[in-house]
Amino acid sequence: MVAGVLLALSTVRDRKKTRAALIISGKVTLQVLPVLFFIFVLMGTIEAFVSKDTIAHLLGTGSGVPGILLAETVGSVALIEPAAVFPFSGYLRTSGASYGAIFGFVLAAILIGIATLPLEIKLFGPRFTLFRNVFTFILILLLALLVGMIL
């Protein structure tokens, strides 16, 4: 709804720009939708083979620091489109994962990437890359513990 209103507004202001925007939207759709499909299949697969008890045990409120570390590690390694992070996290949440573990997973998935390491080293050098990723990992862990207490 809101998107429709904004789109109409944008069309009134500038037709050319709106067309460019829609082309970008189309590209993003093409880029993200297949990944989402893949993630949804993966979610279904986990649901079919892993019981909710297992997820709750591994990532639930009782899992503490090891649970957060696991979530962070999976997030760092997973090649996941940011747009797919939230649907998957929602699934983990309904399966019994704690908010702390989910926080760790979301931020690690967005900010730490095995796949982007070569690019980051090339652009910024190994020292910057190492410290940025390590600092980020540690800070996410601490914040996830905090989130676990707040929510």
């Binding site: 925007a21 993003v28 299949v41 279904g44 989910i102």
Partner: protein
């Protein structure tokens, strides 16, 4: 464009293959997968379309390059605070953000600004509708609230360790 289609095809094929394999080996489990895929799609398609439109409009009306230029000019605390907040509104993946931040550094921005920029970019405001739908507004609010100070901390500590090497 071609590589885009190729990647799309790979993901669809991979997902389909897993789905098919499971359905073949165990029809009952295949059914669970079908339900998960169908239900999630139905629940999210509207939000996803809206988010995609947002992303397109944002890219055109507020191009990331303009934001970077704007941030590169500011220095001191003001620059750091801006770098810890403004990137929250930018979309994209690390693959597009890292080169952008590198040009920032080339134009003379502080390392702290670069570190804060990358961290704050994880705010992902364009995806907010998805986040609220799946995890609730409380989670989204807490996450965004914690991210801004985190960006400052990461930026400053990164600058500290990088500068230490520069001195003999």
């Amino acid at each position: 464009m071609k590589s885009l289609l190729k990647t799309a095809a790979i993901y669809i094929a991979l997902g389909g293959a897993i789905w098919g394999l499971i359905a073949l080996v165990s029809p009952a489990r295949g059914e669970i997968v079908s339900h998960a895929v169908g239900d999630t799609f139905k629940q999210t398609i509207e939000i996803i379309v809206a988010v995609f439109i947002f992303i397109g409009l944002l890219q055109v009306w507020v191009p990331p390059k303009t934001i970077a230029k704007f941030l590169g000019k500011e220095s001191g605390w003001k620059g750091l605070i801006l770098a810890s907040t403004v990137p929250i509104g930018i979309g994209g993946s690390l693959f597009t953000i890292l080169p952008l931040v590198q040009t920032l550094l080339e134009k003379g921005a502080r390392i702290a600004v670069a570190g804060a920029f990358i961290t704050a970019w994880a705010g992902k405001l364009p995806l907010l509708p998805l986040e609220i739908h799946f995890l609730g507004w409380k989670f989204a609010l807490v996450r965004l609230g914690l991210l801004v100070p985190s960006a400052v901390i990461i930026g400053l500590s990164l600058e500290k360790v990088m500068e230490r090497r520069g001195k003999p």
